[in-house]
Amino acid sequence: MSAPALVAHAEERAARRTAWRRLWYRLRRNPSALAGSAIVLVVVALALLAPWVATHPQDAGNVVNFRARHLPPSAEHWFGTDQVGRDVFSRVVFGYRISLLLVVGVLGLSVPFGVVLGLLAGYLGGWVETLIMRVTDVFLAIPALVMALAITAALTPNLTNAMIALAVLWWTWHTRLVYGIVRSLRGEEYVEAARLLGARTAHVIFRELLPNCVSAISVKVTLDAGFVILIGAGLSFLGLGAQPPAPDLGTMVSTGSRYLPDMWWQSVFPGLAILFAILGFNLLGDGLRDLFDVEVA
């Protein structure tokens, strides 16, 4: 590399470093983002490291140990044991795996789909816009939980079908969000300049417009994660999500509630675990919203 090029390269690196430092500075001054990211990190770490964190990893599966059933919280069983003697703490830790799997599945399917539709509708306009946005309106009118109930009831109730049921409706929110942003950016001069230079529609959509939607999308995705966990737990509480003996938080609350109030730990701890995860994602989402200074409905 020539000398001036090296200088330019070093300056670029320095600029990138400054940008990171600025982000870290603003993050430090934003307690809710900080608390949220800490909680989310803990939840993700627990899920990833479940076999090592869990005190009784074998209890995640179909294990029965009637001698140890209905034990209250103790040093041996932090969150107590359930009706067949399985360690509740270990099952909660593995339960986060299922919750996060649902989040990744639902958002991984629906967000890219919704974002692309929003980009197309917002940029192309005309009949494409009318078609996409009217279909979106129709889907928006259906309550997510009702639709999910219908789909999982029609198909076999299991985790994959719960995922599909939620994804079928979830994309609409992202279509609406991205559509709104693109509509306001469509007339920006850099978009027109790109067109004058002969850029293809795909370039304008994915290289000029999409990068300007990323911060809003990431805020929305973070907030969505909490909702997906909640609705997922709701579905499995009703027996339409992951099936026993899989360690699902909603199922645990549901089964544990049969032994309330005496064996409160069987439902309260999984419930608190759901609360903790949702709180983390919501705090992080709110914090990111302030940090990026974006409007997300």
């Binding site: 300056e11 670029e12 920006e188 300049a193 002969g198």
Partner: protein, 325 residues
Amino acid sequence: MSAEPLLRVDGLTKHFPVRGGPLRRVVGHVRALDGVSFDVAPGETFGLAGESGSGKSTLARIVVGLETASGGRVRVGDVDDVRGGDRRAFGRVVQMVFQNPGSSLNPRRSIQATLELPLAIHGTFQGPIRARAAELLEMVELPRSFLGKHSHELSGGQKQRVAIARALAVQPQLLVLDEPTSALDVSVQAKVIELLQKLRDELSLTYLFISHDLSLMHAFCDRVGVLYLGQLAELGRADAVFRAPRHPYTRGLIASVPVVGEEEVALKAGLERITGEIPSAANVPSGCRFHTRCPAAEERCRHEDPEFTGDPSEQAVRCHVHSIV
């Protein structure tokens, strides 16, 4: 004009439909442009002046192909109609520099990405694209270290320089400048204008310069046209039009120039100002469009639309009272 014009605007008309009522029926038209004709020769700088609402930005957008005309023809180089033609080949003839430096660069893309886009699309440049992007920056007198920057790190003048470099990346012949300096500080404005003059001489560019700043236009342009409510009121050599404006509208515009130096004082001597607001282009006055504000208006100005008189390469005017015989 002896040489074949690079830009020929012939009877250009643009009507925007106005919809109203519950059925969103067309209830009228905004006549943004109504029969505008002029030629720009290669190497010439043609200035288009007018108040906001006169249609000058619409004209610029039609010339580069961002909007389509309702009537008339625009011929750039040997391309008659952009639609159906080769958008990219057309882009190599004409490019545009926009008004607002704040929105002319993508905030999420680096200056390097911005400048490399046209080079990559057109592939006309042989050799390393990054080196060419650095050259373009040097051409607009910015250091090559700017390649790694993003638009929020640049001042308004620097952004506008990058926008000029981006437009020049495809080596166009005609550059449409839509109020390129109106959003800048006066000191920065002067430097950008100097740069545009230098580039014009070095690259033998042709400019269509759109502005409402008449003193700037006087200094920068070879020929000017004065647009009023979608029609040209006066047209001719910048010097002739500014020294001896004939149309009452041109005279009024020049009279409204804020005075800075003796030059402006001399220009304004004996000119009467115009009052009132520009009428709506949705409801254009009958006869001469300017008669509602004209100090010299006569009876026939209310009914008869005047024709152009004079030689457009020298001075031509569209006025009953001050016609050139």
